[in-house]
């Protein structure tokens, strides 16, 4: 153990206890939280304003049953968005998640149809997702290929493979599968709870477990992380595996919502998830982002479509408005980065 020494004299020995929390200078204050989370807070304010407008202009927006259904439908998106946010924090990207999601959904349908018990199907489907993620991760981390190209390729391969296999045919699910065998209301609550618990756990993990720290370090500066003794390539592999597993889990939460499995499900999910992450403050350049911000991002983007419906605006505007929100979010980041480098 290296003995401690004070700034003024090197008398050695531990400093007296009272100096433990004493600041070395008067500036010692924790970095301003408002400033650190300014991005997340501003998106939350936008969301709050939107919700307020809806409360005044279209209170029907808050009718419980449609609201519950809408939220349940977004539960898988939230899970996938959390996953892709972590991938982006590690300075990678995964656009094959929509295809993995669809493939996992079809697998769930096939296995359930052949009479497997629910728990076993869940386990196997998540495992399939993880294996597909590992495939991406191995190519990216092992061969140092750019993740955008690797996952673009796997996205197309998986999607087209699925099309060839299923020829667009839906798969009927056993009745016991709908809403995990619960009532519709109970099932919807269960899905929402699953997604929220997972979000809370991941948000906590990314802040408080070493694994989360590793992700941020590698995404910020992989070489510096390596010099500090981390193994960036293993971390990259791990985040892709985890992403795949989450896509499998999200597929399960999606499948139980309808009596049939659509083999084309998850088309465009990757864009939705990445957009939510970007709006929620995750930097495409890695090392920055917060899962609670992603949560707000998912909610904001999910609100646009129903809000337009209730406000009697043509739904054609949905994509344009989503695009505008993403653009505004990125412009916000650009301006802030410029300010901080000046």
């Amino acid at each position: 153990m290296l003995r401690r020494f004070s700034r003024t004299g090197f008398q050695g020995g531990r400093a007296p206890p009272h100096s433990k929390t004493q600041a070395p200078n008067l500036l010692l204050r924790d970095f301003d939280l408002m400033q650190k989370y300014s991005r997340e807070i501003s998106v939350a304010i936008v969301l709050a304003l939107l919700l307020l407008v809806m409360a005044i202009a279209a209170p029907a927006f808050y009718e419980p049953q449609p609201l519950l259904s809408r939220l349940a439908r977004e539960a898988p998106t939230l899970i996938v968005a959390c996953g892709v946010a972590l991938v982006m924090v590690a300075r990678e990207i995964d656009i094959s998640i929509g295809s993995i999601f669809a493939l996992c959904g079809v697998c769930a349908g096939l296995l359930a149809g052949s009479g497997w018990p629910l728990i076993a199907v869940c386990g196997v489907v998540v495992l399939i997702g993880a294996v597909l993620g590992a495939m991406n991760g191995a190519l990216v981390a092992g061969l140092r290929l750019p993740s955008i190209v690797v996952t673009l390729a796997t996205m197309v391969i998986l999607r087209e493979g699925l099309r060839w296999k299923q020829q667009g045919a839906f798969i009927n699910l056993p009745d016991a599968w709908q809403w995990f065998g619960l009532s519709q209301r109970g099932g919807q609550w269960t899905l929402i709870a699953c997604a929220l618990i997972l979000l809370a756990v991941l948000a906590w993990v990314s802040r408080n477990l070493a694994a989360g720290r590793f992700l941020y370090a590698v995404g910020s500066n992989a070489e510096a992380a390596r010099l500090a003794g981390l193994r960036p390539r293993w971390i990259t592999l791990a985040v892709f595996v985890f992403m795949g597993a989450l896509a499998g889990l999200a597929a399960l939460l999606n499948v139980v919502q309808s009596p049939q499995v659509d083999p084309k499900s998850g088309t465009g999910l990757e864009l939705k998830a990445i957009a939510a992450a970007v709006v929620g403050g995750v930097a495409v350049s890695g090392g920055r982002g917060n899962l609670w911000g992603v949560f707000v991002g998912v909610l904001l983007l999910a609100c646009i479509n129903p809000a337009l419906t209730y406000l009697h605006v043509e739904a054609y505007w949905e994509k344009a408005i989503q695009g505008a929100i993403i653009l505004l979010a990125v412009i916000f980041d650009g301006l802030r980065n410029r300010r901080s480098t000046n």
Binding site: M1, L2, L27, F31, L209, A210, L227, A228
Partner: protein
């Protein structure tokens, strides 16, 4: 003879670091003017001022007798200044002729390309400097000296009157050097002024007409080469005596911590390293840029593992295959380039401080933020870091404080051997002396310190022993109290073995 280039009292600072402090310099027509100085003496900064890459803070530049204010790279080129860097900046996938054309042609993007004209002009220019290079060859197929010749051809084609060559012979063989020298002499005969930067004194005497020595951002003097000898040049480069900002050595070295026997690594060009590092000892590793010092550190830290010889830690032979095994053996490495390899700017000071400890633990471990905060606060206090708090991002710190955090990261792992690569580069004087005190204190507590530094007074002032590297191996060893010019002479390869 006309003066091509005249600098008067040029100053340039980067934050607290004064890189140039009133340098005056003149280049005549048909002259080879050598520029000499230790690492960090201000040569590169001076070059960048001349090429317009840096705006000067104060002073005056005259080009061709005319005072130029607000020199930009484009303006400098237009005024006939060309610079040939050690690593030529060519497009590897394009042919020689295309590379030359890209530099010289100024046409609109819609202009039809005159392929035949490009080809003949490239041939002409290459012929003028006596280079036998096929203009149609892709640049990636050319050797380094051939690429330099292409650069020179570009400079000539642009009508350069002032050609700056930054260590052009660093990667050349003897034969290639002679070819290059012939080209330089030919340029001189055509009235071109050449600013020639080199660490090799023999080259300067063979080629240059005059030599200017820079030291600590000041010009120590300009002399005709006939009026000066090697010893005088070394003395000019070394200059002042060791200042009193260095804490005194106090400890007698303890047991052996690290022993290297004939260690080498083909990939990094390091070979035959014999070295012993004892507890409580600061060993300075001196040498010029490219001598293999950082490469040696990277071997010890497992970044480019050794492929020859034996590394012993505490008397036991060990294999260091990656940074993790180095850390497990108690080796810590504070790298040279803080911004790229050290402190992670986006992450908090606390996260940076605990990075190397946390790197060793299981990913599922719960980080106890209170303990992390306390550890960081302790280091902030002990090392005298000026920071807003443990949660402030690493990027908010000044250079010296970043260096202290980079140091704290490794002290937190309680290492046995500490390798410091340029620990005070870009750090202001006040923080420097604090860092020196910290290093000395750490040694006094039994750490074995290997300090790589290009700052000669720092090596002399801090080290208990000084090793000098040159050409990838250790060429000399000095005890504490060695003279600066002995060390500089060894680094320059003037004397082989010195006591």
């Amino acid at each position: 003879m006309a003066t091509l280039l005249q600098l008067r009292n040029v100053t340039k600072s980067f934050g607290a670091v004064r890189a140039l402090r009133g340098v005056s310099f003149a280049l005549e027509e048909g002259e080879v003017h050598a520029l000499l100085g230790g690492n960090g003496a201000g040569k590169s900064t001076l070059i960048k001022v001349i090429t317009g890459a840096y705006a000067l803070d104060d002073g005056q530049i005259q080009i061709g007798g005319q005072t130029v204010s607000h020199l930009t790279p484009a303006r400098a080129r237009a005024l006939g200044i060309a610079c040939i860097y050690q690593q030529p900046a060519l497009f590897p996938d394009l042919s020689v002729a295309e590379n030359i054309a890209l530099r010289l042609e100024k046409t609109s993007p819609l202009h039809t390309i005159g392929w035949a004209a490009r080809q003949t002009r490239a041939e002409e220019l290459l012929h003028r400097i006596g280079a036998e290079i096929d203009p149609a060859a892709e640049v990636r197929t050319l050797s380094m000296p051939e690429q330099q010749l292409v650069e020179i051809a570009c400079a000539l084609g642009a009508g350069a009157r002032v050609v700056i060559m930054d260590e052009p012979t660093a990667s050349l063989t003897q034969k290639e050097q002679h070819l290059l020298f012939a080209v330089v002499r030919d340029l001189r005969a055509h009235g071109v002024g050449v600013i020639y930067i080199s660490h090799r004194l023999e080259e300067i005497f063979a080629l240059a007409d005059r030599v200017t020595v820079l030291r600590d951002g000041e010009s120590v003097g300009t002399n005709p080469v006939d009026a000066i000898n090697e010893a005088m040049l070394i003395k000019m480069m070394v200059g002042r005596e060791v200042a009193a900002i260095y804490p005194l050595a106090q400890s007698a070295p303890g047991e052996s911590r690290l022993t290297l026997k004939k260690v080498g690594c083909v990939q990094s060009g390091v070979h035959g390293i014999d070295l012993e590092l004892r507890a409580g000892e600061i060993v300075g590793l001196a040498g010029l840029v490219g001598a293999g010092r950082t490469e040696l550190a990277r071997i010890l830290f497992g970044l480019t593992p050794a492929d020859a010889g034996e590394i012993q830690l505490g008397g036991q032979a060990v294999q260091i295959t990656d940074p993790r095994s180095a850390i497990a053996h108690g080796i810590a490495y504070v790298p040279e380039d803080r911004r790229r390899h050290g402190v992670i700017m986006e992450m908090s000071i606390a996260a940076n401080t605990t990075m190397a400890i946390h790197a060793q633990i299981f990913p599922g471990t719960w980080l106890r933020s209170a303990a992390e905060r306390q550890l960081t606060l302790d280091f902030i206090r002990d090392l005298g870091v000026k920071a807003a708090g443990p949660q402030a991002p690493g990027g908010s710190l000044s250079g010296g404080n970043q260096q202290k955090i980079a140091l704290a990261r490794w002290l937190a792992t309680k290492p046995k051997v500490l390798i410091l690569d340029e620990p005070t580069q870009g750090v202001d004087v006040g923080a420097k002396s604090e860092i020196y005190k910290i290093i000395r204190h750490l040694a006094a507590e039994g750490l074995a310190v290997l300090m790589i530094s290009s700052d000669l007074p720092e090596v002399l002032g801090m080290s208990d022993r000084i090793l000098v590297m040159r050409g990838g191996t250790i060429v000399a060893e000095f005890a504490r109290g060695a003279g600066a010019h002995e060390v500089m002479a060894a680094a320059l390869g003037q004397k082989k073995e010195a006591a």
